[in-house]
């Protein structure tokens, strides 16, 4: 056993140097040099201000914006750091609800969400509108969920319905072999702000990877 001690320790040190230091630093160096945008988190800026990442969902509560899916993430309570409170789209602590299909908690939560959207068995709501995502940070919604939000957003913004519906269509990802038809909520809302004129600024720039 003792004869194996030296190779055991030396091999750990060598592999640490190679795969734990050299490899990640080399990848970081190359990525920062030639793929700066995606390597930095695909940030979206507007008027020089970082407004989020094209890949990560953010919390929208106002009627003026399209809203994402419910999110199960939480964060520390600002009043008492030892407690946690619901903090949707907390991108520093990704988590799903982990509620199973027969969980009463899940059923109660979905029931409340369906009621809030005015759904019923006769008039069902899109599933993504009432279910939480795996990460709590899903950036996308289904075109169906976007469509049921159009009247609310158009009303809050005093925009014609068809104009808002057209924005949804413009921001719907086309279906290919891989990937679903989805709407990126942040991109849609940026387009919405731009179309509303006046309210915040010119079109956003972003350095996200191409889809």
């Amino acid at each position: 056993m003792l004869s194996h001690l030296r190779p055991a320790v030396v091999m750990i040190v060598l592999f640490t140097a190679l795969t734990g230091i050299a490899y990640p630093f080399a990848i970081t160096g190359i990525a920062q040099a030639v793929l700066k945008g995606p390597a930095g988190g695909s940030l979206v800026t507007r008027d020089g201000v970082v407004v989020g990442s094209a890949l990560v969902g953010q919390n929208f509560a106002s009627d003026r914006y399209f809203q994402g899916r419910p999110s199960a993430t939480s964060g520390p309570d600002p009043k008492d750091a030892t407690k946690t409170i619901d903090a949707p789209y907390n991108a520093a602590n990704s988590v799903g609800s982990n509620l199973g299909p027969t969980s009463q908690k899940l059923i109660d939560r979905v029931k409340a969400s369906v009621a809030a959207l005015g759904g019923s068995p006769a008039k069902p709501v899109p599933a993504d509108a009432v279910t939480t995502s795996a990460s709590g940070l899903d950036p996308d919604i289904s075109p169906a969920y976007a469509t049921i939000q159009v009247p609310r957003v158009a009303d809050a913004r005093k925009l014609p319905l068809d104009k808002v519906q057209a924005l949804v269509a413009d921001n719907t990802r086309a279906a290919g072999l891989f990937g679903e038809r989805t709407v990126n909520v942040l991109r849609l809302n940026l387009a919405l702000d731009a179309a509303s004129g006046g309210s915040p600024g010119p079109a956003a720039s972003n350095d996200a990877p191409a889809d």
Partner: protein, 569 residues
């Protein structure tokens, strides 16, 4: 289920096999010490490794020496990784200012990463410093996979040799697997991932001002470099808590597909390398066909169950056409999610693009059963190959009993000693999985960790011990594992699931290597055709389905009927 969905699944599987054929030849060369096109670049590095560690690459080891070397290396990894986590608070590259990891959690995580399990009782972005992620966790993503590969090819060598006292040199196998196979593949994959949106930076977080004026802190870091080896090495430990479901680990359907491809690639290629090394590619084909049948059946069941959805929710006024979307990400879709979930548990990867805890009961049964089989379809890097070869040894024995002949596999007679060792390995799993599960449901501390009540609660615990024992690492993540009880017992399950399994396997290798390799005769039971595939499947069903059926009946199966009856807990 849609045609397009199946087309996605088939495309990925065909691509895996297409890439595995040339990669399998390459692996065969690497593990035989032959020259490859990478030799001019890597041989100097390889020589430095041997020189500094005082290894004579030409000197082979018997199975005892090989085993001791592997154990010594794993022990060195265990201690250094434990120390690194405990000390991260005072070490550099800790931009988030995290404290050292608590002792029980550090033990659990260290065992988890040296055994290629990568079970995580912590959230990466809220616990581990960049130094721990890179110089600790990423390193063990490489070396635990290389260790698995080494052990698999030590067993393969035992079949190919005749009356040999040695089965190879562990240090050489470890070094060559890490240097020639895992490192180059990871470099390529990591860069492709960055291009696809996976971050790679030394920053800890970025602050954004959302459109509504709120602050959003985005956790970030050297993600791509770890993500690449996490899939290629069938490790599965995520940089973030939500693993590959996090938009920074799995930014698009394309990257999700690439990850599913990557986690299946080396296990499948290893089987092809096995076929080449034993001198009959059809032997590899029959093993691969068996693995493929179980894998594809599993994908089909998950896909069907998840698109069927949850009738309880549909009854509340939820449109059922998209299937069960709780715990799923929109960009991946149901087909890719099913493929990934079956693949990640059929291998011992354990990374996830959806929360398995929120799957429908039958959708969740598949990952669970894949792990109860010990992750052999197609299994982890190396671990899948030696795992299925052990089952193959048992299969030829059963076949031999049926026709009254001395069983033989690949020219080696399977006798009492080999059978005892194979059974010893196989029998490690049930007491660990069922014993620890039973203890947990009887203890208050075990039940306090549950996130779900009723049969789903039992599934959460059973899943945890199935996952850790088989060194998978995926979770029904509602279970709060970061308690003294679970940190300790899950740690033990991972440790024994790896080492108490592999020591008999290496002893089996030693025993087989010492035997004469006899040429096939008319009386030899053929192991390269459909008959053997059928028998192997039969043995898998008898060994595992019957063994675990009572536990499964109390968990996912009863929950399925509860769901159909509209009963909630």
């Amino acid at each position: 289920m849609t045609v397009l969905g199946w087309l996605q699944i088939i495309t990925v599987l065909v691509a895996v096999v297409a890439a595995a054929v040339p990669l399998g030849s390459y692996i065969a060369k690497v593990m035989s010490g032959e020259r490859t096109f990478m030799t001019p670049v890597l041989a100097p590095v390889e020589r430095v490794f041997y020189a500094l560690s005082g290894v004579d690459a030409k000197r082979e080891q018997g199975w005892r020496g090989y085993t001791l070397a592997m154990l010594a290396f794993s022990a060195a990894g265990l201690f250094s990784l434990y120390a690194l986590q405990r000390l991260q608070g005072i070490l550099p590259l800790n931009p988030q200012g995290f404290d050292g990891v608590a002792p029980d959690l550090a033990f659990n995580s260290a065992v988890s990463f040296i055994t290629n399990t990568n079970w995580q009782n912590y959230g990466g972005e809220t616990t581990m410093s960049h130094l721990t992620q890179m110089a600790g966790l990423t390193v063990h993503n490489f070396v635990s996979a290389a260790t698995g590969l080494a052990m698999a090819f030590a067993l393969v060598r035992a079949f190919t040799r005749s009356e040999s006292k040695t089965i190879g040199n562990f240090w050489v196998d470890l070094t060559r697997g890490g240097l020639y196979l895992l490192l180059p593949l990871s470099i390529v994959l990591a860069l492709v991932m960055v291009a696809g949106g996976v971050p790679q930076t030394l920053l800890a977080s970025v602050e954004a001002t959302t459109l509504e004026g709120a602050k959003q802190v985005l956790s970030i870091g050297p993600v791509a470099s770890q993500e690449a080896i996490k899939e290629l090495g069938t490790n599965g430990g995520g940089f973030f808590n939500a693993n590959a479901a996090h938009p920074f680990e799995g930014p698009s359907a394309w990257i999700g597909m690439l990850e599913a491809f990557s986690l299946l690639l080396v296990p499948v290629a290893s089987v092809i390398a096995f076929g080449r090394l034993v001198g009959n590619w059809k032997e590899g084909r029959s093993i691969l066909a068996t693995m493929g049948i179980v894998l594809v059946l599993g994908i089909g069941v998950i896909y069907a169950a998840e698109t069927y959805g949850n009738p309880i929710l549909t009854g509340l006024g939820v449109d059922g056409s998209a299937g069960n979307l709780e715990g799923k990400e929109m960009r991946f879709g149901q087909a890719l999610t099913a493929l990934f979930s079956a693949g990640t548990t059929g291998t011992s990867t354990g990374s996830v693009v959806a929360m398995h805890d929120s799957f429908t009961p039958l959708g969740g049964l598949v990952p669970l059963f894949n792990m109860l089989m010990g992750c052999i379809t197609p299994g982890g890097v190396g671990a899948g190959l030696y795992g299925i070869l052990v089952v193959a040894v048992i299969t030829v024995f059963v076949a031999g009993l049926m026709v009254g002949r001395t069983p033989e596999y690949l020219g080696k007679k399977i006798e009492t000693r080999e059978m005892k060792l194979a059974m010893l390995a196989i029998l490690i799993y049930p007491p660990l999985v069922l014993g620890f599960t039973a203890a947990s449901v009887m203890l208050k501390t075990g039940l306090d960790s549950l996130n779900n009540a009723g049969p789903h609660g039992l599934s959460e615990i059973l899943y945890a011990f199935a996952s850790t024992t088989a060194n998978n690492g995926s979770a029904f993540a509602g279970l709060t594992g970061n308690t003294l009880w679970y940190n300790t017992t899950l740690g033990l399950a991972m440790f024994l699931g790896r080492f108490a399994y592999i020591v008999p396997v290496l002893a089996l290798a030693g025993s087989l290597a010492a035997k004469r390799r006899s040429p096939a005769s008319v009386g030899t039971f053929p192991t390269d055709g459909p008959l053997f595939v059928g028998l192997l499947l039969g043995v898998i069903v008898i060994l595992y389905l019957l063994q675990y059926f009572p536990a499964l009946a109390l968990g996912p199966i009863v929950e399925h009927f509860a769901m159909l009856a509209g009963k909630a807990y």
